[in-house]
Amino acid sequence: MTGDALPPPLDLSGLAPAMPVLSETLMVVAIALPLALAFGALVPAVRRVLPHLLVFVPLPALIAALAVPRGLSVLVAPDPFRFTLALDAPGALLLGGAALLWMTASAYAMAYLRKDPARPAFIVWWLLTMAGSFAVFLVADVASFYLAYALVSFSAYGLAAHDDTVEARRAGALYLALTVLGEALLIAAFVMLASGPADANPQIRDAVALLPASPWKTPILLLILLGFTLKMGLFPLHVWMPLAHSVAPVPGSAALSGIVVKAGVIGLLRFLPEGVPLPGWGALLCGAGLFTAYYGVAVGLTQRHPKRALAYSTVSQMGVVAAVIGAGIMNGTAGTFTIAAFYAANHMLLKGAMFLMVGVAMAASPRRALAAAAVAALLGLSLAGLPLSGGAMAKYAIKLIVPDGGAGVLLTLSAAGSTLLMARYALLVARSGTENQKTEGKEMQGRPPRGLVLPALALAVLALFAPFALFAEVTGVPVSAAFTAAALVKGFWPVGLGLGVAALLAWKGPRVPEVPAGDILHAAGFLSATGRTIMEGTVAADAVLRRWPVAALALLGVAVSLAATLTFAAMP
């Protein structure tokens, strides 16, 4: 069961002769369309129609995800650039999920930001992030991957910092700093990785195939894990995520938490060798992932705002994905990456829908917010893996990779934690309705705008049912396998446990103070103090160095030391 064998769901084999051209066009257009529209926004006429057009922009990507044959790679720019696009099973899963989320969130965003004067700027960042996210799932060569990764990472800043509050500025600055750091880690890894093959810009697949034999295997793997888990928000590199994801406007949060973090997932999937056992590295990643899965739940439970609770849930869920990938590469299990991508795509849709529901509830009266909370609870239970929901299929799939050993039990138990956190989230959503909706007309009072409700519900339905459609193809196991009594019981007990604990906590829970978002960052305040001291020291040193006698002496010193070195070292 390899990723390439997986057939595309939309069978266009009737168009066989035209297929290569069609596929190429689809993949290129998927990336080029949002990019072109982002630049087109410079033209006022384009700027005016963009809000109406936005929903359809992800369409080529969706069709590409459904119809392009797996494993087909297209060389868009010939030698020596070798800009290549390709679609494999993990890429297709994430691309399709991202396209769906982008479409619904676009419609939602246009309604959400209807009165925001800065909406045009948001649309530009939105399109750029979209282009980057599609590109990162599609490109197949190392240099283009770096470009796409940088595009999605840096553009996402515009979404996070859109509201420009004090917290948003702080979160945005931290996000940018860590993004720049991540880029530096990755470029070092890529340069080392790319030195294996003869090409200067090799295909990722060729470069990774040579990785196990590379003399720099350890530094490459270390840098890749650091760089991509930074984006996924694995402990202790998660500090930016709750901050950045909670300050963005609601659709922005959905895109950030749903899609942008998946750039880290696809990075791991692309740059770790599949099918080659790497026991040490796998155990490391698996352990870090498991710890993060619990840590995210623990801190998330103390949060008082649903968006922050969701952001911590993303931290926790990315921990689960990392644990699955880690377990897979520990044993070199084939098919790991497709299943990890399946789980990630499931999370993508669910988390997107859950964020959108927060916005719906916030625009609703307390009574109507209860309805939103009910949908939210349903989504949350699916994320936790309640049997008969789409999320249960994803949970079932990852069990195929992580056997019932120590890691397997821990992973199963983390679903209980997830349930707990999701219960907390649903509770917070239920409380976030507001009474005074004075801005709306009288008949609209307390009723969230249709532009918010419809996309959110559509995405919720998709998120709940899409996994069923893909399960059999992804795992090679019939859907019915997940409906046997044993599987149902096995799937239910963690959720039941979580619900039980949630009920217990709701009945007689301890009052826990809210852990500030970014948790350990606050403990690391001395870092910024050290940084400031270094900076001040350097500026003072610079003032000394730039005084004339010092600089003149330095000039003489340079001349003398050069002469001395040359004389003694080179002249016999």
Binding site: W548, P549, A552, L553, L556
Partner: protein
């Protein structure tokens, strides 16, 4: 002691003086003078080098002389430019000082 050696040593001494002046002079004028002394020393050494060509059998090596003359012209231009800047700066400071001594532009 040959003439060339004497000139060479004198040049070296001038170079030393010039460098010392450039390092220690507190004002721009002192540095300009230091530069000129240093430059003079370098030209003197160049002259001594030309003389050594004569020692090798030529009546005299004309190339360094041409180069020294060019160098002197360049050094002269540099001095003129530096002095012009200095004069301009000091007139401005003299004009600004009585008006508002506190608000000195940097």
């Amino acid at each position: 002691m040959t003439g060339a050696l004497l000139f060479g040593l004198a040049g070296a001494a001038l170079v030393g003086c010039g460098v010392y002046g450039l390092l220690t002079a507190s004002g721009a004028l002192g540095r300009i003078l230091g530069f000129n002394v240093l430059g003079g020393g370098v030209f003197l050494i160049f002259g001594a080098v030309a003389r050594r060509g004569a020692a090798a059998g030529f009546s005299a090596d004309p190339v360094p002389q041409a180069l020294v003359i060019t160098g002197i012209v360049v050094a002269f231009c540099a001095t003129a430019l530096a002095v012009a800047l200095l004069v301009r700066l000091s007139t401005m400071e003299a004009r600004a000082a009585p008006a508002d001594a506190g608000e000195k532009e940097t």
